[in-house]
């Protein structure tokens, strides 16, 4: 199946989802971007350059790791993990960012902007901008600035300007709006590096294309290690870029089940979550440049969302998944904040792995299901990022007394220096 073959439908549409819903002033910019992207996609040299950049700069291919201890402990399916946490900057976000960086060079633009939630996309973008010599501005909701300080620190030290967005809910969606406002002003010299497979066409296709490197590698690796394809493949879904990346390796396999894991926050019925497809609270709408399922009210105003993971705390979901969900080709489940904290402790203690809070959502669902599966079955989970950035949130969640006293001591030291 080629979901990006638009020959019998409208370009940029996946079923009824997707499209371009932007102010007229951006029409020419989007056309320019589509044209440049089409050239890149058709040019095998571009893909080679992209792959070798990631090999030499980010450590690709990332491995697939067998979780022997956990598989034994749960007594069900054999669990394998794709290690995109081992990328430079600590997550899969760098794949898309390096790709769009090369594309920015082709466009001849000198400035990049990006929204960020967890800060991983902003961190990757600031890194790319430093390497490629672009000016860089990152928009981040003020709530996220507060909960993901380590990433803000790195972005600023890499030379990016970080703007704390104070509008709306002060999270990812508000950062996207600010990027749009910057872009409608500065499009002549600026490329908007959208961080997930959402937004107007061609972003869902383009981001998915760059992230497909995850699935290409993973398929080959799991077959090499186990001699066969996995039964089920899991990934967390914020906007949906890491999941699209991994799933593309298995789309044509009727016997591989694909499971997207959304942020269940405080659970079903709490209205404090970001589960657009796994729960029944979302409906179809048009916002932030595209049509998809949004968490919104009957009049089309967006609802408050919540997740312990800033990178999943978002109102919409990529239009490709909206379509594949309708068609029953991808199953969606949700993991709650409480389950995420428990699973994170388990993976740390039994396997020495520290997945990002976002990625841990995939682990929650995978481990729950693996335990009920047969020993000769195989599951593959995407570890989209590492949890180092979450040290403050995780320390709070685990109520770690030693960490608190360390931070208290640091605070005292800084206060004394100020005086």
């Amino acid at each position: 199946m080629d979901i990006f073959d638009f020959s019998d439908g409208r370009e940029g549409y996946y079923g009824e989802y997707g499209g371009v819903f932007l102010p007229e002033i951006l029409h020419a910019t989007i056309e320019e971007l589509i044209e440049c992207f089409r050239e890149c996609k058709a040019d095998p040299k571009f893909w080679q350059e992209y792959v070798s950049l990631l090999q030499n700069y980010s450590g690709r291919p990332t491995p697939v790791t067998y979780l022997e201890n956990l598989s034994r402990e749960l007594g069900g399916a054999q669990i394998y993990v794709k290690r995109d946490d081992l990328n430079h900057t600590g997550s899969h976000k760098v794949n898309n960012v390096m790709g769009q960086g090369l594309l920015t060079q082709r466009l001849g633009k000198k400035r990049v902007i990006a929204e960020t939630g967890a800060g991983q996309h902003g961190f990757a973008t600031a890194t790319m901008a430093a390497k490629f010599g672009f000016d860089c501005k990152i928009y981040m909701g003020a709530v996220d600035v507060a909960r993901q300080r380590p990433n803000v620190f790195w972005m600023e030290n890499l030379g990016a300007e970080v703007i704390a967005v104070e509008d709306g809910q002060k999270t990812l969606k508000d950062a996207v709006n600010e990027c749009m406002r910057d872009w409608v002003t500065n499009m002549a010299d600026t490329h908007y590096i959208l961080g997930t497979a959402c937004g107007p066409h061609p972003f869902p296709e383009m981001v998915s294309w760059f992230q497909s490197i995850i699935g290409l590698e993973a398929r080959e690796q799991i077959v090499a290690q186990t001699g066969r394809l996995p039964n089920r493949v899991y990934a967390c879904v914020g906007g949906g870029s890491n999941a699209m990346g991994l799933f593309q390796g298995f789309f044509d396999e009727p016997n591989v089940e694909l499971i997207g894991c959304e942020a269940g926050g405080e659970g079903v019925g709490s209205y404090m979550h970001s589960a657009r497809l796994a729960y029944d609270d979302a409906s179809v709408g048009v916002a932030q440049g595209y049509k998809t399922y949004f968490l919104q009210n009957d009049e089309g105003n967006m609802s408050e969302t919540h997740s312990v993971a800033a990178g999943l705390d978002y109102i919409g979901v990529n239009p490709i998944f909206a379509h594949l969900h309708d068609q029953g080709k991808v199953r969606f489940e949700a993991a709650t904040d409480a389950e995420v904290k428990e699973t994170l402790k388990l993976t740390m203690r039994t396997e020495g792995l520290i997945p990002a809070l976002e990625s841990t959502h995939g682990f929650v669902v995978a481990l729950k299901e693996a335990a009920t599966m047969a020993k000769d079955e195989i599951v593959l989970v995407n570890m989209s990022g590492r949890g180092d950035k979450d040290i403050f949130t995780i320390a709070d969640a685990l109520d770690d007394a030693k960490w608190k006293s360390f931070i208290g001591g640091k605070a005292d030291q800084y206060r004394a220096e100020k005086k």
Binding site: P23, E24, A28, R181, V286, A287, Q296
Partner: protein, 255 residues
């Protein structure tokens, strides 16, 4: 009377018309009504009533805050249509709906057109709905005698302007510069050249907006545009100096 005929009639004794803007429910509907009274007294010709939306990504900071506060105060679509009905019955100017497409999409395009018509609105401006996505809505509008206001911009190619021109009805909204609503535009030859370029692709009247703040801007546009569109500057005046200030603002603008 349709929008185009109304503009033509008003232009018989004025060379430059004015379209003003309020965000429904901000600061409150009572304030909106007072603003409209002042606009009517001053001789404003058209008013956009913005239906607040949670993601106003084409708006600048002042309108962003206005949208947010209005929603926080509980403004609903029903209230906006009720207010539109009151305004269209009470005042001599014509009213338009301005907002984002999701508001229309969620109620259904047919319901939107019917309700707009019932409320006395003559048209609508949906900045995030491109012409490619408008075929059904434009057809419904044509059937109901409601005008979709198309935006033309400084970045639109001639090919694009031809496409936009073919879809334009009632009037065109010429966006004077890049960016969002709110900041000042330096009115210069490029604005005049843009209006000329737009006129090559349609015969409907041209309204020019984004950053119009003063009588000097009005004088500049006279002879080249048909309408001046004033948004942020009026709201800013209302916030800073209330009814008295707004009265003075429009008196100076229309002097």
């Amino acid at each position: 009377m349709g929008l185009e005929a109304f503009i033509a009639e008003r232009k018989q004794d004025k060379d430059l018309l004015v379209m003003a803007h309020v965000v429904c429910g901000y600061p409150s509907f009572e304030d909106n009504l007072q603003e409209l009274e002042i606009m009517a007294e001053a001789g404003v010709d058209l008013v956009e009533l913005q239906f607040p939306f949670s993601e106003p990504s084409a708006d600048g900071p002042l309108f962003v805050r206005a949208n947010e506060q209005s929603l926080k105060a509980g403004t609903t679509v029903d209230q906006c249509f009720e207010f539109m009905k009151l305004a269209s019955e009470r005042f001599p100017f014509k009213v338009l709906m301005m907002g984002y497409y999701n508001t229309v999409f969620k109620m259904g395009e047919d319901v939107f057109v019917r309700r707009l018509k019932e409320a006395g609105g003559v048209g609508y401006i949906l900045p995030d709905l491109p012409v490619e996505e408008s075929a059904n809505l434009h057809q419904l509008s044509a059937d109901a005698g409601i005008e979709p206001i198309i935006l033309m911009t400084p970045t639109s190619s001639d090919k694009r302007l031809a496409q936009l021109g073919a879809a334009s009805r009632g009037m065109v909204y010429v966006v004077a510069r890049k960016g969002v609503t709110g900041s000042k535009t330096n009115m210069g030859d490029d604005v005049v050249a843009l209006i000329d370029r737009c006129r090559q692709h349609t015969n409907v009247p041209m309204g020019v907006g984004f950053g119009i703040t003063s009588k000097a801007d009005m004088d500049f546009l006279r002879g080249s545009a048909d309408l001046a569109i004033v948004g942020t500057a009026a709201l800013k005046t209302w916030e800073e100096s209330g009814a008295e200030g707004l009265r003075r603002f429009f008196a100076e603008l229309l002097a």
